[in-house]
Amino acid sequence: MSVEKREARQPWILLSPALTAVTLLLFVPLLFILVYSFWLRTATGADVAGFYLDNWQEALTDPFYRDILISTLRIAAITTVACAVMGYPSAYFIARSQGNKAVLLLLLMLPFWISYIIRTMSWINILGVSGALNSALMALGIISEPIQMLYNEVTVILGLVHFLLPFMILNIFVSLDGIDTNLENAANSLGATKWQAFLQVTLPLSLPGLAAGGLLCFVLGAGTYITPLVLGGPRDAMFANLVFEAIITQLNWPLGSALSLMLLAVLGALVMIYNRYLGMAQLMKGLG
């Protein structure tokens, strides 16, 4: 075998365990879901195998699903922007701090040691009717009756930001950390103020990290059902809650399958658009 052929084969050999796992654990189940989505759920509760388009028709035409999909994307977008705005300064601070970077990164990872569900539920202890904030406000005499702060869209977004912020910070940090600090120094020496140097040099060079963090936050945020379940009210359901509802509560696997594939398609399309847009972006040329 020629060297070229062997070298061409090598990555596939190295990738094969991962590919096997992905195939078995992801693509095969996905295929089942796809097949399920064309089955029919009868009034008696039994599933009829076959090729029926009823679930797809319901999922694609019912304005109820469309509205929740739109509000899901909106919540994910707001969350992503909030994470970017809050995460960038933190990531910058960590990347530029000398010596204690490792400690700061460890602190950033700390929340991951606690279950996401528990972290989400902790907001009930903070914002709930008998939670820390209400108790404090009442003790200070600012309010006489506890305020209902939980179970609305704002708390859902709050919970999502709490959950997703570390992902955003890590992604931005990685790209900032890879930027030579002499680039900013060089810009300063050429006459740019700190802020101008940041806008001209550091920010554009960190965009890939910001984009990766944004994508991750958006996809994770749009696909979550725990946060709205724990922190949202009855009207704050997100799309994944509908899937959860269909499959777990109503045991309607065919409809749940169609809905989950719909969400997958929307998010997948976004990822692809993103990829394509970034792939063509001028700045990637310089980073190579």
Binding site: N182, N185, A186, A187, N188, G191, L283, G288
Partner: protein
């Protein structure tokens, strides 16, 4: 670019008692330095001696803990880097990877109310000056290391800086390219006449390029002088050894007058060192003879050594280096080093030779 000497902004840099501490560690001890207008000054010293620290303080990237920095006669301690009008070339070039070469060079012009129409012209002039006229549209990663180096230089000088600061700009290049860039850098510097502070730990680079060399060791300035001065009249043992190899022979000064100092050293006896090469030596005190390895010549026994100081020696090691040979000799209990041009065949290990030098080639240091 307006590289007319009369309009070029020339100025000098002064360090007054500069101290830089990092926590409890003192990286620079009371540095005093005067850099004349238009000079090419090199900070030379081993790794960690504080060269970069000094340069970064001049640049405004570090604040001195004590002391004063003057550029063009004005105190700049409180002036932020972007207002100092300096050109800096970093060791790793620090070109903006997301900007084209032309955009890189034009970067500094944006902050200097240069009319749009002039920007393109000045960028092209800078590219011509570094002899890369056709790469403006490329991205830095599409250039070789040496080309990136030139662009970094072009970017630094296009803004007509008061001072050009270079931190080991050649160290990332391979040996041949390094020699070329050394010549190139010197050519460009003398053409635009900008005051230049150059940092290196390579003594041959320093000797070849500088008007003035500042030899540093462990945060202290050991000596400031022309390449000839630091080479021929080292002010300390450190300088003598850092700039090429030297043999240091401890002895005493028997007498001294206006012309010469008479040193008594082991192995060779009395050596008459010219007074200007023994400025710190006093009669009756301990003194050290500095004998450069290139000045110690090996001769076959019985050769003519008129006017030279000699001793019998045995060749211990022969280190063949192409045009030159480095010998390690044993004279009595002492090992000496000699670097000689090859003239015919080099001497062989174990051979007995006459080691000889001219006393006027030596320098003397005070102390034991």
């Amino acid at each position: 670019m307006n590289f007319h000497p009369e309009s070029a902004p020339v100025s000098s840099v002064t360090l007054n008692n500069i101290v830089k501490r990092f926590g409890t560690f003192t990286a620079v001890h009371k540095a005093n330095l005067e850099i004349p207008e238009g000079a090419f000054v090199t900070l030379l010293g081993p790794s960690g001696c504080g060269k970069t620290t000094n340069l970064r303080m001049i640049a405004g990237l570090l604040d001195p803990s004590e002391g004063e920095i003057l550029i063009g006669g004005k105190r700049v301690n409180e002036v932020p880097i972007h207002k100092r009008n300096l050109g800096i070339v970093f060791q790793n070039y620090a070109l903006f990877p997301h900007k084209t070469v032309a955009e890189n060079i034009a970067f500094g012009l944006k902050y200097r109310s240069v009319p749009k129409s002039d920007v393109a012209r000045r960028v092209q002039e800078a590219l011509d000056l570094v002899q890369l006229p056709d790469v403006g549209h490329r991205y830095p990663k599409e250039l070789s290391g040496g080309q990136q180096q030139r662009i970094a230089l072009a970017r630094a000088i296009v803004i007509e800086p008061e001072v050009l600061l270079l931190d080991e700009p050649l160290s990332a290049l391979d040996a041949n390219l390094r020699e070329d860039m050394r010549v190139e850098l010197k050519r460009i510097q003398s053409k635009i006449g900008v005051t230049t502070v150059f940092v290196t730990h390579d003594q041959s680079e320093a000797l070849a390029m500088s008007d003035k060399i500042v030899v540093m060791s462990a945060g202290r300035i050991e000596q400031v002088g022309t390449p000839e001065e630091v080479y021929n009249t080292p002010a300390s043992e450190f300088v003598a050894n850092f700039l090429g190899a030297s043999n240091i022979l401890a002895g005493g000064c028997a007498s001294k007058d206006a012309n010469a100092a008479l040193l008594d050293v082991p192995l060779f006896g009395s050596v008459l060192v010219p007074a200007d090469k023994a400025p710190a030596v006093n009669a009756g005190d301990a003194a050290k003879l500095v004998l450069r390895a290139e000045k110690l010549v090996l001769k076959a026994p019985g050769s003519d050594t008129t006017g030279m100081v000699t001793a019998e020696a045995v060749v211990e090691t022969v280190d063949y280096q192409g045009q030159t040979v480095r010998y390690f000799l044993r004279v009595g209990d002492t090992q000496l080093q000699a670097i000689n041009m090859i003239d015919g065949r080099p001497f062989a290990e174990g051979q007995t030779v006459t080691a000889a030098f001219r006393p006027q080639d030596c320098a003397a240091l005070a102390g034991a």
